[in-house]
């Protein structure tokens, strides 16, 4: 009972403190806009520096448009993350089971992170066209690394003594994998997934910038021409909210699956 109370308090504080800080920052921003402080300092027209209230009203007025484009981007993100999850886990398992493959492929996978995705995006559009395919590929490329590396780390995290114990208790290689290594890898895999869903919007936006007719990234880009900064901010807000919602979903799934932590 006391324990639960203490836990409740902690959860309260975990939400309350960031919420207060966020409210203060928004209030400060509002104040700076309504006094014209930022616009004056940057020597800009005031409509180029929308206040939180203006962003909120842009969000509301454009809710249909934003929702439509959010769905496009969300689909790209989800399919890309799914592709990265399938390929990444498969790769991690193969590298875990084959030392030769691990020694050969791991350095290349790490090195592949040096390739800027912005540069590849237009090439992929040339290859795959303006449809959803290049977006999925780009999101998958950006999410592949954290998923693969974390899954592999998890698979390899098993104590060598546990391996000896399992061998001595008649476990086959397959049983060792399913009863020990796979469950041991789950917490790391979820960590990788959390990173993946946060960076997925980056991939999706780059992909849309490289060539597309809809999506939140495309909307931000086209609004540039009309200086619709308030709607751009609203779009950024929707993108961030989607990433946060996805993290929440992953965390929820983790709590359901990894019940021993």
């Amino acid at each position: 009972m006391h324990d639960r109370g203490a836990k409740g308090t902690t959860r309260w504080r975990r939400w309350l403190f960031p919420a207060v800080l966020l409210a203060a920052l928004i209030a400060l921003w509002q104040l700076a806009c309504s006094t014209g402080a930022i616009a004056d300092a940057l020597n800009l027209e005031s409509f180029l520096v929308p206040s939180p209230a203006e962003v909120a009203s842009a969000l509301w007025e454009n809710r249909g448009l934003l929702a439509e484009n959010a769905w496009v981007t969300l689909r790209e993100m989800l399919l890309g993350i799914l592709a990265a999850l399938v390929v990444g886990v498969a790769f991690a398992v193969l590298m875990h089971l084959s030392r030769v493959l691990r020694d050969a492929a791991y350095p290349l996978i790490v090195a592949s992170q040096a390739i800027p995705i912005v540069v590849i995006a237009p090439i992929l559009v040339v290859w795959f066209g303006y449809g959803i395919t290049p977006k999925i590929v780009i999101v998958a490329l950006i999410c592949f690394f954290p998923i693969t590396v974390n899954a592999l780390d998890g698979l390899r995290s098993v104590d060598p003594e546990t391996v000896k114990m399992m061998r001595s208790l008649d476990a086959s290689r397959r049983q060792r994998f399913w009863r020990v290594e796979a469950p041991a890898a789950l917490p790391s895999l979820f960590t990788g997934m959390k990173i993946a869903v946060v960076i997925a919007p980056i991939g999706a936006v780059f992909a849309e910038w490289a060539g597309s007719s809809s999506g939140l990234g495309r909307l931000v880009q086209s609004d540039m021409a009309y200086f619709l900064v308030d709607r751009q901010f609203a779009t950024v807000f929707v993108l961030a909210a989607m990433a946060l919602a996805l993290i929440g979903l992953v965390a929820l799934a983790e709590r359901r699956v990894v019940t021993w932590r």
Binding site: D159, E161, M165, L169, D170
Partner: protein
């Protein structure tokens, strides 16, 4: 080949877990080491080990830390092959065969946190191909006998250190193997729990005798639980003394370890240990 050697302990395993507890001794193998030596690359860890352990015997291995006790245990279990010499277990000498005849209990309990206590205990039966329900039922009988009833569904994190160690021992015992290899089974416990667990293990072994190789750094623990104690020297580990533990012993640990014959044996073992740690 491997299939054959694995079949035997499997069928015996399901016998031993049948309630009521077995009255006749469980299957056991004699263990014989002849000229066993081991090296990790250039580093020689063990040299010229000669040991004989009859079926149902308990052999304690003591020695200074880093002397290769745990390596010796892994060699016996078939988790490694010795660089020289032979180890036979019930006549079998290949590492694969020894692995099939021996259950290894590591230093830490290493219970799998994603399994309940009973599923951890039943792990060997599941590995041997038994269905989940059947394996759980088999383990449940031992849970009662080992004072763990009511904790079947608990996760390892919810158990005390002593209980975790009991589940770990149960997991080793239930495999139904002729030889059990225990590596410092109680080293991670506090002194009081350790004493209780030693008493508990002694009783469990009286009820269900097996061939046991027990590695420990604690001379008293070795003498209390074993029939014979081999004292190893500092690296490279050699057997510098082999002594018989005094018999009969009081079941109660405090009474047993204060017995004059026990105290004398402990002094002798400690002398050998000191002598052996000086190295050569």
């Amino acid at each position: 080949m491997r299939q054959d050697t694995r079949m035997e302990p499997e069928s015996q395993g399901s016998q031993t877990v049948e309630a009521p507890p077995p009255r006749q001794p469980a299957p056991a193998d004699a263990v014989v080491l002849r000229g066993v030596g081991h090296a990790y690359g250039e580093l020689r860890t063990l040299e010229g080990i000669e040991l004989e352990l009859p079926a149902h015997g308990v052999l304690g291995l003591v020695g200074p830390s880093g002397c290769g006790k745990s390596t010796l245990l892994e060699l016996i279990c078939g988790l490694r092959e010795p660089s020289e010499g032979t180890i036979s277990m019930g006549g079998a000498t290949a590492a694969e065969e020894r692995l099939a005849r021996c259950a290894f209990m590591p230093q830490r309990d290493l219970l799998l946190p994603w399994y309940s206590a009973i599923d951890n205990a039943a792990l060997a039966l599941r590995n041997q191909g038994m269905g989940r329900r059947e394996a759980r039922a088999a383990a449940a009988g031992l849970f009662e006998r080992f004072g763990l009833s009511g904790f079947q569904a608990s996760r390892p994190a919810e158990l005390s250190g002593g209980m975790r160690q009991r589940v770990a021992f149960l997991r080793t015992l239930i495999a139904g193997k002729p030889v059990l290899a225990l590596d410092e089974p109680f080293a991670s416990l506090d002194a009081i729990t350790r004493g209780e667990m030693q008493e508990w293990l002694a009783a469990a072994l009286r009820a269900d005798p097996r061939t046991i190789v027990l590695v420990t750094h604690d001379v008293e623990e070795a003498l209390y639980l074993s029939d014979r104690v081999a004292v190893l020297s500092a690296r490279p580990g050699r057997v510098v003394a082999e002594l018989s533990a005094p018999r009969p012993r009081a079941a109660e640990r405090d009474a047993a370890v204060t017995d004059p014959a026990f105290v004398a044996a402990r002094e002798e073992a400690l002398r050998a240990l000191r002598h052996g740690s000086r190295g050569s």
